[in-house]
């Protein structure tokens, strides 16, 4: 005689679409870690295995639920680029890879194929906006302009404004009748 516990007999194995999404996310994550890697020197090479491990953990394993892992993997890629300071083109690609990874690592698990396609389609506008912005920034940076602290401050201000705009808001509370 055995006790009856709660269970999930109906839980199925990961679907093909889910596997494909994870593989693509893994490729984007590996790309963002490996792109600046050739120019790393000395101890900074430790960032590459650490970043790859974080990417792998963010996709599968017991720590995948811990959402900070994906952010840490992207932060590792940013640190690599800050240390190596590659060309503008490489930086632009790196930024797009980071965006792609961050968008896809958030994909819900175990979606059927049609739902996955629909979900990916809805992410497309964000990716297009990212590409568009990267192109504009690339063009602006490619034009030789003397370094200005004001420009950096303006960039920081733009980032803050973007975050404030994107934050969810509550509708205004109706006034209580007197």
């Amino acid at each position: 005689m055995s006790g009856v516990d709660s269970g999930t007999r109906g839980a199925r194995a990961p679907r093909l679409a889910d596997m494909i999404t994870r593989v693509v996310t893994g490729c984007l994550g590996a790309g963002m870690i490996l792109l600046p890697a050739p120019q790393l020197t000395g101890r900074s090479w430790a960032l590459v295995p650490a970043g790859l491990v974080l990417v792998a953990v963010s996709l599968a394993g017991p720590l995948a639920r811990w959402r900070m892992v994906g952010t840490l993997a992207a932060a590792a890629a940013v640190t690599e680029s800050a240390l190596t300071r590659p060309d503008l083109a490489v930086l632009a690609w790196e930024g797009l890879l980071i965006l792609g990874y961050l968008l896809l690592v958030d994909a819900p698990r175990a979606m059927p194929g049609t739902v996955t396609a629909h979900w990916l389609w809805r992410q497309l506008p964000l990716a297009v906006w990212g590409v568009f912005t990267a192109a504009i920034v690339l063009v602006v940076l490619a034009i030789p302009v003397p370094v200005s602290a004001w420009l950096l401050v303006a960039g920081a201000g733009a980032a803050v404004v973007a975050v404030v705009i994107a934050l969810p808001r509550r509708p205004p509370q109706p006034r209580e009748p007197r």
């Binding site: 940013v78 930024g95 965006l99 979900w119 990212g130 960039g155 994107a166 808001r169």
Partner: protein, 420 residues
């Protein structure tokens, strides 16, 4: 399925936190290192943040979860359908089955994207009787960079105990003077042969036993046993409840009670219930299949922890009628239940005990005294059963893996006598 307004608390979605963290980190690095080139790393993330859908979000969302049917037996399928009717980008449903509930159909996590009906379906199988909330469904609604989490709980489902196969073979020595289906010792108009006697005026000619008549030269007739009904009172010892969820001693007791009640009601007998433990409750014996549902509905409330000792004097005569057979389902762990047994014997009640304790105390193999303690426990149980047998109370052992009819075998063909 009617939808209800469920209050939603919107928070920043994990994606917003990720993109904002990376965007701000890149800008900080660019400022600190005085390299504007690095802004290229964070510009796409910040652009995606800015491009996300904005605007006010509803404070409450229309959502519902339904469980059908609302009544079932253990092991039967119950369909759970969760629906969220709200203009959001994505809804992720996740079901958390309750204890002793299995998901048999449908992935635990289901995702619906805007443009498709936001609903999810699962099939659950409850394995424990009672009034249960079989599951909790969490619906995470993502809209732009905001996220709201709704907790949906279906209505309680009444899960009836699955009656194990049983026979109405346990009978008291004295049956009632009411026509039924049990063979009595008294002669009557039944179908079972009980003896031969000399012909009396008024006997039917078809009852003549021609072989004996021709041999003895005097007319003799066959006698037949009367068919009588019985009253059964099932007692459930709810003082102790040990074992894993869905398979506790109390679960087993109620299942056994349901099986025995089904068997006796099928033969036209009257069945009543007395619950020992918590508040003393009873249901007077009554016939009919509808009475089965009254019995199991009363059994739903047996899990009521209490320190009170039952006073059987409070049970009215109608609930514990004379000449009724009392079957007590008990793990024989609580002294109060054993006192009730003694009390019943002193009243001259025909009593049978069904032992529903199927597990021994866990013996930790690393502790040297554990095995000895278990052996002592076994000896104590054996002594208890012997003392009950000395009182004239038969004790049957029943394991949930088998039907109740297997446990009834030792008493087959034996009438339970009331011994004071």
């Amino acid at each position: 399925m009617p939808l209800a307004r469920v209050p939603a608390t919107w928070q920043a979605a994990p994606r917003l936190r990720r993109l904002a963290t990376i965007g701000v980190a890149v800008v900080l690095v660019a400022v600190l290192t005085r390299h504007a080139d690095l802004l290229l790393l964070g510009a796409p993330a910040l652009a995606a943040l800015a491009a996300a859908r904005r605007g006010s979000r509803p404070e409450a969302l229309d959502a519902a979860v339904a469980a059908t049917p609302s009544r079932c037996f253990e092991g039967e399928d119950v369909e759970i359908v969760a629906t969220v009717a709200a203009p959001v980008d994505e809804v992720t449903f996740r079901i958390e089955p309750g204890p002793a509930v299995t998901v048999t159909e449908g992935p635990v996590t289901q995702v619906a994207v805007a443009g498709q009906p936001a609903s999810a379906r699962w099939v659950l199988q409850p394995h424990a009787w009672g009034r249960h909330q079989l599951c909790t469904v969490t619906a995470r609604c993502t809209d732009g960079m905001g996220r709201a989490s709704l907790t949906l709980r279906p209505e309680t489902v009444e899960v009836f105990p699955h009656p194990p196969p049983a026979r109405a073979s346990l009978l008291p020595a004295d049956l009632l003077r009411r026509i039924g289906e049990h063979t009595a010792t008294a002669p009557g108009a039944g179908i079972e042969f009980s003896g031969i006697r000399g012909y009396q005026p008024g006997d039917r000619l078809r009852d003549l036993n021609w072989a004996v008549t021709s041999r003895l030269g005097q007319p003799h007739v066959n006698q037949r046993a009367a068919l009588r009904a019985a009253d059964l009172v099932i007692m459930i010892d709810a003082f102790s409840d040990v074992g894993p969820p869905g398979d506790t001693s109390l679960d087993l007791a109620v299942r056994g009670a349901a099986g025995l009640a089904t068997a006796y009601l099928r033969t036209g007998d009257r069945v009543g219930v007395v619950v020992l433990g918590g508040v003393l409750r009873w249901l007077a014996p009554s016939p009919g299949n509808r009475h089965f549902f009254r019995i199991v509905e009363m059994a739903f409330g047996v899990r009521f922890p209490s320190e009170a000792t039952p006073d059987l004097d409070r049970v009215p005569r109608t609930a514990l009628p004379p000449r009724a057979l009392v079957v007590l389902f008990s793990p024989l762990l609580d002294r109060r239940a054993l006192n009730a047994v003694t009390d019943l014997r002193q009243r001259g009640v025909s009593l049978v005990i069904v032992d529903v304790l199927t597990r021994e105390p866990p013996a930790e193999p690393r502790l040297p005294m554990a095995q000895l303690a278990v052996r002592l426990w076994r000896l104590d149980r054996g002594a208890l059963r012997s003392s009950l047998a000395g009182l004239g109370v038969p004790v049957l052992s029943w394991d949930s893996g088998t039907g109740l009819e297997g446990a009834q075998v030792p008493l087959r063909g034996r009438r339970i006598r009331a011994v004071r």
